[in-house]
């Protein structure tokens, strides 16, 4: 069977030969036009006048559109219709598209876009958390509060109590392939779109609205993305809609790709957070009660801020049983890029909040933080939880599959955490400048979309007369290896080699009404849909061939009774006998119930777990730092493809560590993003990767009936990078007696500031 095998990514050969096509590589028809946006130069204000003459007269320009020129909906919002493609009377952030240039080349379009003459009656932008709180600039109707027990009362009775606060920066996706779309006008006004998107159905929907067409008039295709990470869940809408409108108006193919600067200036990023806490605990470091206030800046439009902030709340417990908890969430509207989905979707910020609390408690009591964490864990299956508490999350979901006790034991012993921690303490005594730190971080991450209706997927499978298989499903490929995994599933169902399965581009005409490939759910949802489609065909074949006898599909053969024929012969026989050889498959995640208003229910099908230990060294004179070693143990259930899953774990860790160390977004006081290129925004480079990097997967099975008992893997490992941040905090704490109160990202400047704090 091909499932569970560490096969190479299906496109590996195409990638290493340069033959894999991304949107910008697709051959375009003659006369294809190129698009660029002209951007708002101010962060907030009323547009008084725009003079487009210079743009229109620029070399190569075919047309310029402003909001009033758009034929139908001027809306690219994925949620509450608050995001026009082109600004109408007001601008809301520096970099907001206000006009669309259509020209004969990418360069002409970009050059002309710079010629915009715009007069804006500028108003003071709302940028900081303080600005937004003072102006009461909120999304939704104010704070959201979810609670378990009575945190306030329990805090009053706790033996120990601590308060603190952590500021957590956002993150630029930096998918290596920038946003891109191509629109090809069809007969009768229909439109075909190629988009680098995690959400083809959303693109279809938005383009249909923008063209005044029913959804069946628009077909969206995506073969692959050059990275997505959440940044292509909604942020591709603007390019696709712009191309579609321009293609409709000019009758020509239209293509748009953001160059890197535009991409960083226009598109949304990870939500930054400020999390404050008030925690009560006993002598053992066991939490009695905790209250969190999570404040996040959502930028100018709502986009996905509500579900992102919800997920941060839902991960405020991470791996810990909190007897009393109260989580308050404030979603601020600010004059910045509209923050959006990013791997983990708020979960990492919520997890970092409670991990800071654990670290703070351990420091306060002088205990090993790993010990404090373990003492606060949820109970393992069939074990009693501490003090007989119900093993439930703050949102009332029973934790039935908690694996972290065993995983923690194994990881800490495999990497000799205790020995190394003791050695570091000794070494730090005699090393005045360089200080080392080590930290352990567990991760428990909830799998499912919290918007319950999104937990559905479809697939379409055809067998051709020659026995070759074509597979299509609603998921998109962004490098995670989804297509390869699902081809392995299809091949396993028919008992054939995986190269007999053709993987095709995600296409809204083949599988409709798809959810975004997000929330780590790609293989869980689409895998089951592919399985259902394959099994529907297999059942028909078996009924015809076996006539009641049991029919087996294995090793490229189909066998029943004393019959043994090749798969291709079996398919040919079924075709001759007029057996239908094509089927759709559908899947919806069972067992979900979620009352968002009350913050109660079972929003997740199951949890995925991970554990990491990082060791770092800091230079206390400069704040420079390095990750020396990382050890990871991660739970992917029964992996569909361990090689691809390990890749997700390794990449996730490095990306997570980058978020909390080198990746700093800086806006100036006019709301101008000053870090809008890789020259100023630093994602991890090859030399930043830890010198020793041990990654192991837990050998297990998902107790829930997922596709071949595997678990989702896209997002959970991202949070393993938190261990690097905690290790930095540990190294800093070797400089004095105070608590470092380190903020993220832990840039050299912040590390130096924290060193000064612990010394004073």
């Amino acid at each position: 069977m091909s499932v569970h095998n560490p096969m190479a990514h299906d496109s590996a050969r195409l990638h290493v030969t340069g033959a894999a096509r991304y949107v910008d590589d697709i051959p375009t028809p003659q006369g294809c036009l190129h698009l660029a946006f002209a951007l708002s130069p101010v962060a907030r204000g009323r547009i008084r006048a725009m003079d487009l003459a210079a743009m229109k007269g620029a070399e190569g320009v075919v047309a310029v559109f402003v909001a009033a020129d758009l034929p139908f909906a001027n809306d690219v919002s994925p949620s509450v219709h608050d995001e026009p493609l082109l600004a109408t009377d007001r601008v809301h952030y520096m970099g907001q598209p206000v006009a669309l240039v259509v020209a004969d080349s990418h360069l002409s379009a970009r050059k002309a876009a710079r010629l915009l003459q715009i007069e804006v009656e500028a108003e003071p932008p709302i940028l900081s958390i303080e600005d937004a709180l003072a102006a009461e600039s909120f999304f939704e109707d104010g704070p959201r509060v979810w609670a378990k027990g009575d945190a306030k009362a329990a805090l009053g009775q706790a033996k120990h109590r601590l308060q603190g606060e952590i500021t957590i920066g956002g993150q630029e996706h930096f998918y290596l392939e920038g946003q891109a779309a191509l629109a090809l006008p069809q007969e009768g006004g229909d439109m075909v779109i190629h988009s680098s998107t995690q959400h083809p159905t959303e693109i279809q929907h938005k383009v249909a609205d923008a063209l005044g067409l029913p959804m069946h008039g628009v077909r969206v295709e995506c073969r692959r993305m050059g990275g997505g990470f959440g940044g292509k869940e909604s942020q591709g809408n603007a390019l696709a809609v712009a191309c579609a409108v321009a293609a409709r108006q000019t009758g020509r193919a239209c293509k748009m790709r953001y160059d890197r600067d535009d991409d960083m200036i226009i598109t949304g990023k990870r939500h930054d957070f400020r999390i404050s806490y008030d925690v009560g605990f006993d002598d053992q470091g066991q939490i009695e009660a905790v209250r969190f206030t999570q404040i996040t800046r959502g930028g100018w439009a709502q986009d996905l801020t509500a579900p992102v902030a919800d997920r941060a709340m839902l991960h405020a417990d991470n791996a810990y049983l909190l007897p009393h908890a109260e989580i308050t969430s404030l979603r601020l509207k600010t004059n910045m890029q509209s923050a959006t989905a990013f791997r983990g979707f708020g979960g990492p910020q919520g997890v970092l909040g409670i991990e800071r609390v654990m670290d703070h408690i351990a420091h306060d009591l002088g205990l090993d933080p790993a010990l404090v964490r373990r003492r606060n864990y949820y109970a393992a299956p069939h074990k009693a939880s501490r003090a007989g508490l119900a093993n439930t999350t703050p949102y009332g979901m029973e934790v039935r599959d908690f694996l972290l006790h065993e995983m923690t034991d194994q990881l800490l012993s495999d990497c000799d955490y205790a020995g190394r921690r003791a050695e570091i303490a000794v070494r730090n005594e005699t090393s005045p400048i360089l200080k080392r730190g080590i930290a352990f971080c567990p991760v428990k991450f909830g799998i499912s979309f919290t918007l319950t209706h999104l937990n559905q997927a479809g697939a379409l499978v055809h067998l051709y007369q020659d026995g070759s298989i074509m597979m299509n499903h609603g998921g998109t490929e962004m490098g995670q290896g989804l297509f390869q995994k699902l081809a392995q599933v299809a091949a396993s169902r028919f008992g054939v080699a995986v190269d007999q399965v053709k993987i095709t581009a995600t296409d809204t005409a083949k599988v409709p009404n798809t959810s975004a490939t997000a929330a780590s759910s790609g293989s869980d949802l689409n895998g089951m849909a592919v399985l259902a489609a394959c099994d529907a065909i297999r059942t028909r074949m078996a009924e015809f061939l076996g006539q009641g006898a049991e029919v087996r599909f294995a090793n490229g053969r189909v066998t029943w009774g004393d019959k043994d024929i090749s798969f291709a012969e079996a398919v040919a026989a079924c075709y001759q006998a007029r057996v239908g050889l094509s089927a759709t498959g559908f899947y919806k995640t069972p067992d979900l119930s979620w009352d968002r208003a009350a913050g109660q229910g079972r929003p997740f099908f199951y949890f995925a777990h991970g554990a990491a230990v990082s060791e770092v060294v800091i230079d206390t004179l400069t704040g420079e730092n390095r990750i020396l070693r990382a050890d990871i143990l991660h739970d992917v259930g029964a992996s569909l493809n361990p090689a691809l899953d390990r890749g997700q774990v390794e990449g996730g860790y490095v990306q997570g560590a980058g978020w909390l160390t080198t990746e700093e977004l800086v806006w100036d006081d006019r709301g101008h993003l000053r870090t809008h290129a890789p020259s100023t925004y630093k994602i991890p480079a090859c030399s930043d990767r830890p010198a020793i990097f041990n990654v192991a997967l837990v050998d297990g099975e998902n107790p829930e009936a997922t596709i071949y008992r595997s678990k989702a893997v896209g997002e959970p490992p991202f949070m393993l990078g938190i261990s690097a941040f905690l290790a930095l905090s540990h190294a800093i704490s070797a400089c004095g007696t105070g608590y470092p109160n380190l903020d993220a990202p832990a840039t050299p400047e912040r590390i130096l500031a924290a060193i000064a704090r612990v010394r004073s």
């Binding site: 051959p27 392939e177 020259s679 030399s687 990767r689």
Partner: protein, 161 residues
Amino acid sequence: MTQVKLSVNGKEMSAEVEGRTLLVEVLRDKLGLTGTHVGCDTSQCGACTVHVNGRSMKSCSVLALDVAGAEVTTIEGMANPDGSLSVIQAAFKEHHGLQCGFCTPGMVMTAAALLKENPKPSEAEVRAYLEGNICRCTGYHNIVKAILAASGQDVAAIAAE
């Protein structure tokens, strides 16, 4: 417009260019060699790396006219003449040195340049040489492993698992 002649992957080619036309534009837009990717437009990500007269260069930052007459090798020219994968390409595939693949052509070109200069690099040398190539997906682990494997070294012993 000026005519520029180049030998690309062993074939003589020519294209009409302006003074400002970049090598990557000639390769992608005029010659249809879209395996050379543009990731940052500003000489920082390495996705556009090609070889010019045997040296690796970031083609987004080279004017086509400046390399007139040069021999250029792109990712499309890296496979063996019979179409089979070169040792480096095969190692990237086998050791999973790619996810989304967007950085891969540049990584392969840089790796080839490294192994030409230094056929048996240490792990630290590989990492230092890849400074100018960004990968957002893999965390680099498997890329380093692939390059070490391509150099004929035992990766199990060098790269921690």
